[in-house]
Amino acid sequence: MLVVRDLVKKYGDFLAVDHLNMEVERGQIFGFIGPNGAGKTTTMKIIATLLAPTSGQVVVDGIDVFKEPIKAREKIGYMPDFFGVYDNLKVMEYLNFYGSAYGIEYHKRRRIAEELLELVDLSDKRDAYVDTLSRGMKQRLCLARCLIHNPELLILDEPASGMDPRARAEIKAILKELKRMGKTILISSHILPEMAEICDNVGIIDRGKLVVQGSVEQIMQRMTGRTAVRIRVLRDMDRAISLLKEQPMVTGVIEEDQELEVACRGGDEDLWQLLRTLVSSDVPVVSFRKMEGNLEQIFMEVTSDEEVVL
């Protein structure tokens, strides 16, 4: 359904997308994971025909999006990471407006809009002004908007960002329903455990490169025997980082909120060794805990300097 070949996007000397290759099968949900500024949004905008790449090719359902962008747009529903509202527009009018922008006949688009509002559970809000909706509702409306022309590929940029757990669960339920309807979905997020739950395949992007790509199970298998720990030190953060990087079992160190996230190989024995090294070198460790979760571990691993080949 979606094939991306050797995609490159440069802003001056900065390489935002670095020879990215990926493939998404029809009917799949593909999770696009990466830290902020990794190139997720840029890649998604390029696929959605909103940004010209420096080089490379994107094919959606057999259509080259750069050669035939207008034809490709019929196949693509794009939802950006920010929800823009027009003042003075009601929910139904909002959908009606985008329906008309896609050239759908008046009666048809009214009917589609009603159906979509039902799908995203906003039927009782049809006459409410868009700017009075809650964040979760707006996000669901935005999802309905990108479905108005019945696209086959949905590109959803961080659809669950900044939402409470209940709203996230609602979005997840809608995504599962869309998958059941046969839609192909490319979704980016940094909420990793959720991605594992709904995605068939995931790709992890870092500094414009897709460093890991495969099914969640595949990646999990590959990562068995790898652990991530979160360490808090009282002071001497820099010394702790350089000491950690010297250890053979450590594959990556990220500093975040006065804490260190460390990816390492091996089991509990190795973790004990690591802690012992830190303590014996007089690094004031106040907290040392193993990180739970699965994809987060992988994320930590692959966004370090080492590249993982599956």
Partner: protein
Amino acid sequence: MKRWFYNPVLASSLKTRMRGWRTAAAVTAYLGVMLFIAYVFFKISFANEVMHYLSVSANRSVGLRVYMLLAVLQFALILLVTPAQTAGVISSEREMQTLDLLLCTKMSPFSIIIGKLLSSLAFILLLVISSIPLFSLVFLFGGIAPEDVAMLFLFYIITAFAVGSIGIFYSALFKRTVVSTVVSYVTIFFLGIVSIILGVYMMSLHYSQLPRPSDYYVPFVFYINPTIGLSDLLYRQAGVTAPNPYYGILALLFGVGWSSGSPQGWFQRLPLWVANSIVMSGIAVLLLCASAWIIKPYKRFRRRS
């Protein structure tokens, strides 16, 4: 065919803009100001004229003067209101991040631009049309024919179209609405005021050559100045055959004589306001095409590697 005329951006903007009390209040305030100024002017002039002459021609001259006042007033308001209406339409879409949503629909960048321009102009048009009854007052006195008012309104629409295109262009060019609004007003100031000084300077340079040229010379900046067009139109309607008053006033100020010789070629033979309208419309179309090109995601001469 129906689809061709239907612009979703225009349809949606018209609906939302007319909703609520704001537009009605703006039209009421606009007409209120115009009516008040016209009333005061009319009261003063009429009292003076009637007291002194008490004749039909006095009525006619009062009517003409009220007409001129209203025409200039309305024109100034168009020049002031149009940039405010248009200079934010694309940049605010960008700020709200809704431009991308529009661009990934089937609408072309040009139809988005046209929809935005027309919806802004629709408001100006509403102001202009709602002022027709006010203008009709001058018919009581005679001296001005309905065709004159129609021609004036046509010139208004062309001016609003041209000034609106400038606003849209800056709005597409600059990311922030504040910047595009300021630059639009600076441009209008340049077109309305600075271009006259520049034009007169060019004339003075032209005619100060030795031996003194005797050709018909209109500096090109006069063709892009809508106020020159308006004054030409109004003086024609008032039956004044003398050249444009700007030349006269500025000739006094700068010691420049107005164009001598007779017009050469079809373009120079056109009334100045018509030539002015043609040039402004041409520039407006170019600016609209440029705006559509700016917002287009794929540029034609995109670098390939």
